[in-house]
């Protein structure tokens, strides 16, 4: 070990009151030798003192934490995955109440491994965690069916109606399989969006790799790619992801990058539940580059759009018009 490293160890020991008498004397002599040495030591002290400010101030109660832990292992739905946390989870408080109510029902009924559970959303998006740590963000009016426990099964199977963004926990031994209208999507561990209607299914991959399959063919889809399952017998379609308008329902922000007004208005009417009409086709093609916070009122966004694109915005009978 280098000479200078040894002195660092001793300086810290002295600072922390861990040094022996002989070591303290060594340090005192060293400090005596040179101004630069004293400065060096003071720098150590400064760092040590400053670091105190970074300390976590709130005292956590481990007994209460244990109670929380016990509750979470006894109900299958309340386990969390560290990467799932968004600031906007506070905004789905209503959905959380629903989940708590359902969790209570499960606690009373103690589901067995084969019991089938349903996750369903109404007018609000809903986020939940499955027993393997995978997270599902359901958009409005969507529906996911799955078994209570994946333990003891070769695959993790769920069925989706509607739209959801999945963050699948990695488990190479147990593929995660989603049944959709006309095919299946198989995943090992990744994040992606699935929009499923009666006729078609669209899969947008954010990270990782997903395999999409129908009766005709099987196809791998990677990051920033989109796969479409048109219907049972038709071949699958793959294209590049050109918008970021799919995760807005759980991030709370609609990010527009060269996004045509047509698409923006469509998403707005879905989120805000209002009718927005573009009076002519030409404005629909105009592009916006900005991010809209979806907790702000719609009128504000439309006013911004009208200013930026130099078009008119007015309201009549509760319908909003852009012209």
């Amino acid at each position: 070990m280098r000479e200078s490293d040894k002195i660092d160890d001793l300086l810290v020991k002295v600072m922390l009151g861990e040094a022996t008498e002989m070591e303290s004397k060594l340090v005192a002599d060293w400090l005596e030798q040179d101004d630069a040495n004293r400065r060096y030591y003071v720098q150590f002290q400064t760092i040590w003192q400053e670091s105190r400010r970074l300390m976590h101030q709130r005292k956590i109660d481990e007994d209460q934490a244990w109670e929380r832990f016990k509750r979470s292992v006894e109900t299958p739905k309340v386990i969390t995955h560290p990467a799932s946390l968004f600031r906007s989870w506070i905004r789905i408080a209503a959905a959380v109440l629903v989940v708590l109510g359902v969790a209570l029902a499960y606690w009373l009924n103690r589901p067995t491994a084969t019991e089938v559970l349903t996750l369903a959303s109404l007018d609000q998006p809903l986020t939940d965690t499955l027993s393997d740590g995978s997270i599902v963000h359901l958009n409005k009016h969507s529906h996911l069916t799955y078994t209570a426990e994946f333990r003891g099964k070769p695959r993790r199977e769920v069925e989706l109606k509607g739209e959801a963004f999945f963050e699948v926990a990695k488990n190479p031994e147990k593929p995660f399989v989603i049944q959709v209208s006309h095919g299946t999507i198989t995943v090992l561990g990744t994040s992606f969006n699935v929009k499923n209607t009666e006729k078609t299914t669209e899969v947008i991959v954010e990270t990782g790799l997903v395999e999409v399959e129908n009766t005709v063919q099987k196809m791998k889809v990677g990051p920033d790619e989109v796969a479409i399952i048109p219907s049972d017998m038709a071949p699958l379609i793959k294209k590049k992801k050109d918008d970021i308008l799919y995760n807005y329902y759980f991030t709370g922000t609609l990010v527009c990058r060269d996004t045509p007004l047509n698409d923006i208005v469509r998403k707005f009417s879905e989120v805000y539940n209002r009718t927005i009409i573009l009076t002519n086709e030409a404005i629909g093609a105009k592009k916006m580059n900005t991010a809209f916070d979806l907790s702000d009122p719609l009128e504000g966004h439309l006013r911004l759009i009208s200013q930026t694109l130099e078009i008119d915005f007015y309201t009549r009978n509760d319908t909003l018009y852009l012209k």
């Binding site: 160890d9 810290v12 020991k13 150590f44 970074l54 976590h56 934490a65 991030t251």
Partner: protein, 186 residues
């Protein structure tokens, strides 16, 4: 009593509870200093215990249990932060609007130090970072840290020296060079 690592799961709840309560606070404090979010810290620690709870096979823990737990906190927190960065890429516009700049020239020097200290601290290698955490934030003596991590005291001494040495090098530009200034602010 050091718990036999192979018994730590749902089959031995009493032992598990003991382990949980012994380490939760330290682990949570560590997670908090890394991710700076109370809720995230709790969920990360709970998740580590959950995985232990659910393990059907015997775990091969080649070191002390505390060492394993603290290492898990370090890794899971860093993963969480990495994941946040990916998501933040989509919200870059919103974030730029949020950032508020507060620069008064008299405060500038110490404020910068704190910010860079936080960053430098989280860049320390894993063992170094963990030992610093236990000393500074859990206020444990060297011998206690050595016992918990199953390491010799000499290693703790070396790692602490290394921590301060690395921090000093990284923060060289932000440490006040006037001794008088330090003595006044002590």
């Amino acid at each position: 009593m050091e718990i036999n690592s192979y018994q730590i799961n749902r089959d031995n709840e009493a032992a598990f509870e003991q382990l949980f309560k012994k380490h939760f606070r330290g682990m949570h404090s560590y997670a908090f200093t890394l991710v700076k979010d109370d809720m995230a810290a709790e969920e990360i620690v709970q998740n580590i215990f959950y995985k232990l709870w659910e393990k059907e096979e015997q775990i091969e823990i080649r070191e002390s249990v505390s060492g394993y737990l603290y290492r898990s906190v370090y890794n899971d927190c860093l993963n969480y932060l990495k994941h946040l960065k990916v998501r933040d890429a989509y919200q870059s516009y919103a974030m730029e609007q949020d950032r508020s700049v507060n620069n008064t020239s008299s405060r500038l020097e110490l404020g910068e130090l704190e910010k860079h200290l936080e960053k430098a601290l989280n860049e320390l290698p894993e063992k170094c970072r963990t030992i610093f955490q236990m000393s500074r934030f859990e206020e444990l003596r060297y011998q206690e840290i050595a016992d918990r991590l199953g390491l010799p005291v000499k290693t703790i001494e070396n790692q602490m020296g290394k921590a301060l040495r690395l921090l000093r090098i990284k923060l060289a530009d932000f440490l006040p060079t006037s001794i008088l200034l330090i003595l006044l602010t002590c």
